[in-house]
């Protein structure tokens, strides 16, 4: 069973993504902020981290290195946000995010993406 960590303020988007991950057969842990997520990533072995909102990556305090040890492919980092501008999406991908998914989401596609096999690298 894949372990998924969902990061975001408690609310409808987080509950919705958590339900989609559960439908995909994943074990889900939800946290409120990135600091908690970084601490949980150090302790636990998550396969995927889903961050709701792109703001945590733009204030300069959080880097992908805090969630994923340098040189490793795991956990995969997905970001779900409302931005659709090419610059923002490219910025996130260059930052190390594996996938950017824009709201409004297609729940079935989201379910497939979260439940997809983990990329193990070459």
């Amino acid at each position: 069973m894949r372990q998924v960590l969902i990061v975001g303020d408690s609310g409808v988007p987080r509950d919705m993504v958590a339900a989609a991950a559960e439908c995909a057969g994943c074990a889900v842990v939800c946290v409120d902020d990135m600091a908690q997520a970084a601490a949980d990533c150090k302790r636990g072995r998550f396969d995927r981290v889903v961050v709701i909102g792109s703001a945590p990556f733009f204030d300069g305090r959080m880097s992908v290195g805090q969630l994923r040890p340098c040189g490793l492919q795991r956990p995969e980092l997905y970001v779900i946000g409302w931005h659709q501008s090419e610059h923002t999406v490219l910025g996130l991908l260059e930052f190390g995010v594996n996938q950017y998914i824009a709201f409004p989401v297609n729940l079935r596609r989201l379910c497939r993406k979260i439940g997809a096999p983990i990329f193990r690298g070459i």
Partner: protein
């Protein structure tokens, strides 16, 4: 005797104060428990709706648990509206069946009828997020002439969502100019794939509202292909608001802003509009030399400092 009266008086005061405190504490605890149970119920409903949307088997829907409870229908309506706003795809049928099984549409309509002002606008905005029937849209048509701009806008949105084929007509005949918030609300519906609107016909439309919507789409999706249409608006359009929005759209896509048409239009702008544009250009990362060509003489020093500050923050973030 006076001492006894004083003691009795103090005791009564103390008893009344203690009773009031107990009542207040009881009410606070009750409100807290109610808020918590509402939050848990909302969480439960969101999870149920999501699961149904993912595993749509076309089976008849049963009534949701606790839906008969006081306040539960409001929680369900909010959960349905929120999930619908954040999702796209072929889930309209499922949402429609959930609404029919739990009587959400009629309940929202009744609440909208009984409420006034912003309360009514709130219920109409929830209705506009859901796949409502044409009869509901016809019913809310009575609010189209409301004095409250939120009510008349959301009544129009209910009509747009109920009959997407007539969206273009309804939007173009709306008698008031859309605010930035209203344009964003329409774009959010458009992003869900509910409205059959193409961007370029909107940009060439004579209606100000449709043009504003088109410009918003161009800015949101960064459609560099629309440059030709934007330059047409900048050079030919008589409406100052449209021209200003078109110049902002050009800036949002980081296209050249020192062309003759744009410079001529910027010179005709008021000082505050010009300053606002220069601030936007600085924010978008345009160089100082470009901004200096568009800034008014008295603003040049301010713009130099502004650009320096933006550049410094960009370097620090990197």
């Amino acid at each position: 005797m006076m001492t006894v009266i004083y003691i009795v008086y103090s005791a009564v005061c103390f008893a009344v104060a203690a009773a009031l405190l107990v009542v207040a504490l009881h009410r606070a605890c009750k409100a807290r428990i109610a808020a918590r149970s509402e939050r848990l119920l909302a969480q439960r409903y969101v999870r149920m709706i999501t699961a149904l949307l993912i595993s749509d088997e076309g089976a008849p829907m049963s009534r949701f648990a606790f839906c008969g409870r006081r306040g539960a229908k409001s929680v369900l309506a909010r959960a349905l509206a929120s999930v619908s706003r954040s999702t796209c795809g072929d889930g309209c049928g499922v949402v429609r069946r959930i609404m029919a099984a739990n009587g959400v549409e009629g309940w929202l309509l009744g609440r909208a009828r009984r409420s006034r002002g912003y309360g009514r606008a709130r219920y109409l905005s929830m209705l506009a997020s859901l796949p409502v029937s044409v009869s509901t849209a016809n019913f809310v048509g009575r609010y189209a002439g409301s004095r409250n701009r939120h009510i008349r806008f959301w009544a129009m949105m209910v009509r747009v969502v109920a009959d997407p084929a007539a969206a273009l007509y309804v939007l173009s005949t709306y008698p008031h100019r859309f605010t930035a918030y209203e344009t964003a609300a329409i774009t959010a519906v458009l992003r869900r794939g509910l409205l059959p609107l193409a961007c370029y016909p909107l940009l060439t439309s004579p209606s100000h509202n449709l043009k504003a919507l088109g410009l918003n789409i161009v800015r949101m999706f960064g459609m560099a292909d629309a440059e030709r249409f934007l330059m047409d608006i900048i050079s030919d359009d008589a409406d100052r608001d449209d021209v200003r929005e078109a110049i902002f759209a050009v800036a949002a896509m980081h296209l050249p802003v020192t062309r003759g048409e744009i410079v001529a239009r910027v010179r005709g702008m008021s000082l505050s509009e010009r300053r606002s544009l220069c601030r936007r250009l600085a924010c978008e990362g345009y160089s100082a030399s470009v901004i200096m060509r568009l800034a008014a003489n008295r603003d040049r020093h301010y713009m130099e400092t502004l650009v320096a500050s933006y550049k410094r923050s960009l370097v620090c973030c990197g």
